[in-house]
Amino acid sequence: MNFYGVMAIYKFEMARTGRTLIQSIVAPVITTSLYFIVFGAAIGSRIQQVEGVSYGAFIVPGLIMLNLLMNSISNASFGIYFPKFVGTVYEMLSAPISTFEVVLGYVGAAATKSVLLGLIILATAAVFIDLQIAHPVIMMLFIVLTAASFSLLGFILGIWADNFEKLSVVPMLLVTPLVFLGGSFYSTDMLPPFWQTVTLFNPVLYLVSGLRWSFYEIAEVNVLVSLASIVAFMLVCLGIVYYMFRTGYKLRV
């Protein structure tokens, strides 16, 4: 195990965030606050309660998910894309470091950042609403698993992308709709039956539902189904990463 190698990548990635503090921390906090003001205060005052929870509180898990997904993907994808783009990846390819260790460094750093961000969002939410967390350990489990698996997805995206457009298109065109249509800001009960069925094919629904359960014990699907699906998703991503490195996909010619 190349421990120093993993730490080198991890520290490098964490330091990169330090340089872009505004983009990585301040921006999400402001956006979240806006959500609370617009959805929580303005719209929420009309919606009153969803399944026995105030609307402002109801959207907290969805907001955390949105930030986790977006940031995990963009952090990890940029982290590996950039060395490829400027050419510094040669050093990693010639270093005595295994696939697993490279992934651990990049994905570990991206996931750490996302988890920290998730907690910051949570703290921001606490400013606006009265927060209850029924199962804090399960909440952390969901946050960590989601951050890790979507950082893996971001890593895959970063290796696959050969231009900046591809890099930004996936979060924009895939993640945003999935989050918005995944019951982040509403209960699926509010949808017509047809759309309720469609929503069941949205993987993000399972994440939001699971996380929400850890807060308020209300869920669209059983929390164990939620847990199983995030673990399954992570395994699929790991499999893809393993295949990519074995074949040298887009890294080693």
Binding site: N2, F3, Y4, G5, M7, A8, I9, K11, F12, A15, R19, P83, V86, G87, T88, Y90, E91, M92, L93, S94, A95, P96, I97, S98, G248, R252, V253
Partner: protein
């Protein structure tokens, strides 16, 4: 050199065909011994970078085997790669990192525990110590190249690859570079450099490998390469110019230059009879006097041109 010693780098039947079907390396075989400086000489596109990249793990060999200190570069990649330092041809750096942090990163990546004293030593040797806290983007091109070398040396490799280290480098940096190379040689570091400048290979290397079209045409001790293939020329500056070479001197195949003031005789230093004594006698008989004489070595450039021509004639030659 102890020829019986196991080579530090051994390349056997190495082939590389890129995804587009282009074969960049053709059956390369080469043994390199500890502490040697070997220059891979060849024109652009010869396959030098591909060869280095295959050894370092950046390019995947299509077939063949490479061992470093007896370890296979695929099976034992951790062992082999930690012994190797690579200075790539292109200047690629993380512009926003500081000199110090990029160096610490390189050392860590290669699995070594932090060692500030060693990094300081490397930076001082490369005249970068006063820049250690500067962002890389503030460095000049020459300093960036030094930094690339520093990164490659950060983990104390036993083999150093320098891919065209002097391309676009000024005279002073080039001198510094050769000083560093010589110091590393004293520490028994094996150095493999590529170049398309013959003088460079001649200046620095113990052995020279000539590579063209993906083939390693020949590898030889520099001195024996020079003397084996290096014919010498005898220049005779005449006391009085002549219009033509007298008939009786025709067996010597002399050349008359400098408006009839200089005769050039080409001879083979390896042959038993250089023919110089006989030539001087015959000149005397012909009544030709000279003021001065000197000999010159045929340059590696000429040798190289010949070799490349020979090899391409072999490849494209008409069937017998």
């Amino acid at each position: 050199m102890d020829v019986a010693a196991e080579p530090i780098l051994s390349i056997r039947n190495l082939n590389k065909t890129y995804a587009d079907g282009f074969q960049a390396l053709k059956d390369i075989n080469l043994d390199i011994h500890k502490g040697e400086i070997i220059a891979l000489l060849g024109p652009n596109g010869a396959g030098k970078t591909t060869l280095i990249s295959a050894i370092c793990g950046i390019v995947r060999p299509s077939s063949g085997q490479v061992t470093v200190a007896g370890f296979d570069i695929v099976k034992d990649f951790r062992k082999t790669r930690s012994l190797i330092g690579l200075v790539p041809q292109e200047l690629t750096t993380d512009a926003f990192e500081s000199v110090w942090s990029t160096l610490a990163f390189s050392r860590g990546l290669f699995g070594k525990a932090p060692d500030a004293a060693h990094l300081e030593e490397v930076l001082r040797a490369l005249s970068l110590w006063d820049k250690k806290d500067k962002k890389i983007l503030t460095l000049s091109g020459g300093m960036k190249r030094r930094l690339m070398i520093a990164k490659a040396l950060s983990h104390q490799p036993s083999i150093l690859f320098l891919d065209e280290p002097t391309a676009g480098v000024d005279v002073s940096l080039r001198k510094d570079m050769w000083n560093i190379v010589n110091e590393l040689k004293d520490e028994e570091v094996t150095i493999i450099l590529t170049t398309h400048y013959i003088e460079e290979a001649e200046e620095i290397a113990d052995r020279i490998g000539i590579i063209n079209n993906g083939e390693l045409i020949l590898v030889q001790e520099k001195a024996s390469l020079m003397s084996k293939l290096g014919k010498k020329q005898l220049h005779l500056d005449l006391a009085a110019g002549i219009d033509s070479i007298p008939e009786q001197l025709s067996p010597y195949k002399l050349e008359l230059t400098s408006e009839g003031n200089r005769l050039i005789y080409t001879f083979d230093t390896q042959s038993e009879h250089t023919g110089i004594t006989a030539l001087l006698d015959d000149l005397n008989l012909a009544g030709i006097r000279f003021r001065d004489l000197n000999t010159t070595q045929r340059s590696l450039e000429d040798i190289f041109v010949n070799l490349v021509n020979e090899s391409s004639e072999e490849n494209t030659g008409a069937p017998v």
